[in-house]
């Protein structure tokens, strides 16, 4: 039977579509904006949409972390970096050349294709083996036991970032 619009299935489909629309719209604003501040606003809208998708998929913890880290920290840090680097922030970003746009579309398309293929060909774990009670205890246990390698690798990435920032700051101070 086809679900009607006002049945629970229909409504949840509608919510899903709305969240996808918010995400895509935010991403489009982020790449197409002429002003940097609009770009950041679009990026945060995109992240809010992604957080909504996580919440829709029944993992509230990831959704909240998405808001806290990506909207609250990454977007704000990007804004901070732009303010430090670019004093005349109200200036518009220059237009990209036609060749660059074509190149960008090709690279973006390839990335999309690769991710879509990977998504189609992965054997996804079934529902019972998912870590989806959403409780932080479960997530924490999983991170420190079965996925501890991933966890450690992420901390190595952060360490590299910190060392890089220190190196950059040091060379700036000597000048």
């Amino acid at each position: 039977m086809k679900p009607t619009l006002l049945s629970p299935d229909g409504l949840s489909g509608l919510i899903f579509l709305a969240l996808v629309a918010v995400t895509v719209a935010g991403a489009l604003v982020a790449v197409a904006a002429q002003r940097l501040v609009r770009g950041i606003a679009g990026l945060s809208l995109c992240f809010i949409g992604v957080a909504g998708l996580y919440y829709f998929l029944n993992s509230p913890f990831v959704a909240m972390m998405e808001l806290l880290i990506y909207v609250g920290a990454v977007c704000v840090a990007i804004a901070f970096a732009i303010m430090l680097a670019e004093p005349r922030s109200e200036d518009k970003v220059g237009k990209t050349s036609g060749l660059g746009a074509v190149f960008g579309v090709i690279v973006g398309g390839l990335a999309f294709l690769g991710l879509a293929l990977a998504g189609r060909h992965t054997h996804w774990a079934g529902a019972p083996s998912k870590l989806n009670s959403g409780s932080i205890t479960e997530v924490g246990k999983a991170l420190l036991t079965s996925y501890s390698l991933v966890f450690e690798l992420i901390s190595v990435v952060l360490l590299v970032a910190i060392i890089g920032a220190l190196v950059l700051a040091q060379s700036g101070r000597d000048k």
Binding site: V37, F61, M64, L68, V76, F80, E90, G134
Partner: protein
């Protein structure tokens, strides 16, 4: 049918929350003005109504009848969206705050995380408003707000993590329930056996960072009126400014509620034989808000570099040590 009742309950709570936020914003302005006046040995508003109690209504009518001016050169969309962006996270945070034992719109398991997640958005409201209004003072204010927010969010989250380790839950209702049975069970002192003795330090750090995150004096760098005209709000007129103000006060109410829930036992009564109720919650919350007002009119604004140094060189190390010691204490006992 049950779903409908749940929906109606949520709608009623939503309307109630928005009314609560608006009423608080209006009357906290009155508290602020009266308080400021008495701290400075003046009388404060007294013409409109008894003790000037109708002054907020008069202010509201004034703001609403003013023209919503959108100056040339601003980003019109972002300029209009920004005040709402400051207000919405505060309203969302109220959803999970337990005002009484059964008086919470939604009992969210990750309530504390949810409040922090939404609280981290409201700096974007200030940023977009300031940047969108293309005004030099506003942009300086935005730069300050961002560096202040980044600096103070870290110690706030670190102390919150230490507290979550001690309570073992992020559910605000459960955190309050654990603090039942009198004053000495509150997280502020916690004289129970398995509790960390470090919570008073956590309370001080949390309160300080709360002041900074809500941009209150002595940390009100966003709106340093003696240096930056009105900071991020410089270009706003009429109700645009009004909504910004409502957002600021709503955030203060959220911050004070959070302090109440986390450290002062929420709706629990201070003595074991008195029943807990929403009255205690409101009393504690308003006591915190009054302290916030009191601090504003007692201390002068700090310097910007002193503000950042306080966070990076004092609060973050202390909260890190607090985190490690709390972990050790919980492991040993």
């Amino acid at each position: 049918m049950t779903m409908n009742i749940e929906l109606i309950r949520l709608l009623a709570f939503l309307v109630g929350i928005i009314a609560f936020a608006a009423l608080n914003a209006a009357y906290l302005v009155w508290v602020e003005r009266k308080g400021a006046a008495h701290f400075q040995r003046r009388i404060g508003p007294k013409e409109v109504g008894p003790y000037g109690l109708l002054q907020p209504l008069a202010d509201g009518v004034k703001l609403m009848t003013k023209q919503l001016l959108v100056p040339d050169g601003v980003d019109p969309l972002l300029f209009k969206v920004a005040p709402i962006l400051l207000l919405v996270p505060a309203v969302m945070s109220f959803v999970t705050i337990p005002f009484g034992e059964h008086l919470a719109a939604r009992n969210v398991d990750l309530g504390l995380l949810m409040i922090f997640a939404f609280a981290s958005i409201n700096v974007l409201g200030l940023l977009i408003g300031a940047w969108g209004s293309a005004n030099k003072y506003a942009i300086i204010a935005a730069a300050r707000v961002i560096s202040q927010n980044i600096a103070y969010e870290i110690p706030m989250l670190l102390t919150a993590i230490a507290l979550v380790m001690a309570t073992g839950s992020m559910n605000l209702n459960e955190i309050v329930a654990q603090q039942g049975g009198g004053l000495w069970h509150w997280n502020l002192i916690r004289l129970t056996y398995a509790a960390s003795p470090l919570t008073p330090i956590a309370f001080l750090i949390f309160f300080t960072t709360m002041l900074a995150e809500t941009n209150r004096a002595p940390f009100d760098m966003a709106e340093a009126e003696s240096e930056l005209v009105a900071g991020a709000f410089t270009e706003y007129a009429g109700m645009g400014f009004g909504v910004f103000f409502m957002g600021e006060y709503a955030n203060i109410v959220v911050g004070a509620s959070l302090v109440t829930v986390l450290f002062l036992g929420g709706w629990q009564s201070p003595l074991p034989f008195l029943p807990g109720s929403v009255v205690w919650f409101l009393a504690k919350m308003y006591a915190i808000i009054f302290t916030v007002v009191w601090i504003r009119w007692t201390y002068p604004r700090t310097q910007f570099y002193a503000l950042l140094n306080l966070s990076w060189k004092v609060l973050i190390p202390i909260s890190l040590v607090n985190l490690v010691l709390t972990a050790g204490w919980l492991k040993v006992f």
